[in-house]
Symmetry: C2
Subunit: 173 residues, 2 copies
């Protein structure tokens, strides 16, 4: 049985976006066209954005969201930005231009109640044949986990930020 | 405080090598020279090996180990191969040619008792200044976790192989 996969990387650990990045790297090696949509600005960092430049023929990256959080003073405006971001994602998914779409930090749109979960699940479920999707973010909803083929929880056992070491260029960003 | 990091990706989940791959991708974007040492043959797959070809100036990959397991009929020969693999790794670490070295599936050499854990910990602890090291593999020893700056456990919550879906080109390999 060959089918495309819906993959969810969740948990409080560091590897969620990084593992997605690894999966992108692997897919690029197969010559897959890949689109990365960042629902939180700043999660894809200098390093990966530079490395991505070696794949101009295959890889598209779009930043759709706000800063490091979706919580701001202006909830109505946040919801508007979130809805527009999700509409863009739906177009990308429907476009049939890609074999892998990464919805980085999408889980926040659901957990903050900014986009209807049912709409997201429906879109993912009815995605074009052959399209793999990776969703990352903390607290993936149970609906999303139920729909997914592969769910991995990244658990922080030990983190250098706990010990006062700052993020290292090339490793953390 | 700026220091180089020892990172351990462990657990029974899928993301260990994949997250390391993402970290490699990020480091390459910073122009870091990176060396990947595979202690189990076959964990770095077609996709990432092809993608790596876009970084001939920065990335070296070596396969040192046996097949998918270190358990064979010929224990003495396995130990010999493991010791030679680790000696090679030590040379790479000491060479000062790289800013990131990935020791993929190194944990098996410790957990199967093939290489002295103390020797490994000593080498990692006394590595050249500025060298980041990522170790992956199940069942990371407590000595390794204690020494590490960052430990993440990848936990399989749901896996498609459980449901009879075979590995997907570009995603699993």
């Amino acid at each position: 049985m060959v089918k495309s996969l819906l993959i969810v990387n969740t948990g409080d650990g560091k590897g969620k976006t990084t593992a997605a990045l690894g999966q992108v790297f692997r897919a690029l090696g197969h010559g897959f066209k890949v689109c990365v949509l960042q629902f939180l600005k700043g999660t894809w960092k200098y390093g990966e954005l530079e490395a991505a430049k070696r794949f101009p023929d295959l890889l598209e990256i779009h930043t759709l969201g706000r800063g490091f959080t979706w919580r701001s003073d202006n909830i109505q405006q946040d919801i508007q930005v979130a809805k527009e971001a999700w509409d863009f994602a739906k177009q990308v998914i429907a476009s049939r231009k890609f074999k892998l779409v990464v919805l980085d930090e999408l889980t926040y749109l659901i957990s903050y109640g900014m986009v209807d979960e049912k709409d997201i699940l429906e879109c993912l479920k009815n995605r074009p044949e052959g399209l793999h999707v990776i969703v990352t973010g903390r607290d993936a909803s149970s609906g999303l986990k139920d729909l997914a083929d592969l769910v991995t929880e990244m658990k922080a056992i030990k983190h250098p930020f706990n010990e006062g070491i700052k993020g290292q260029r090339g490793i953390e960003f």
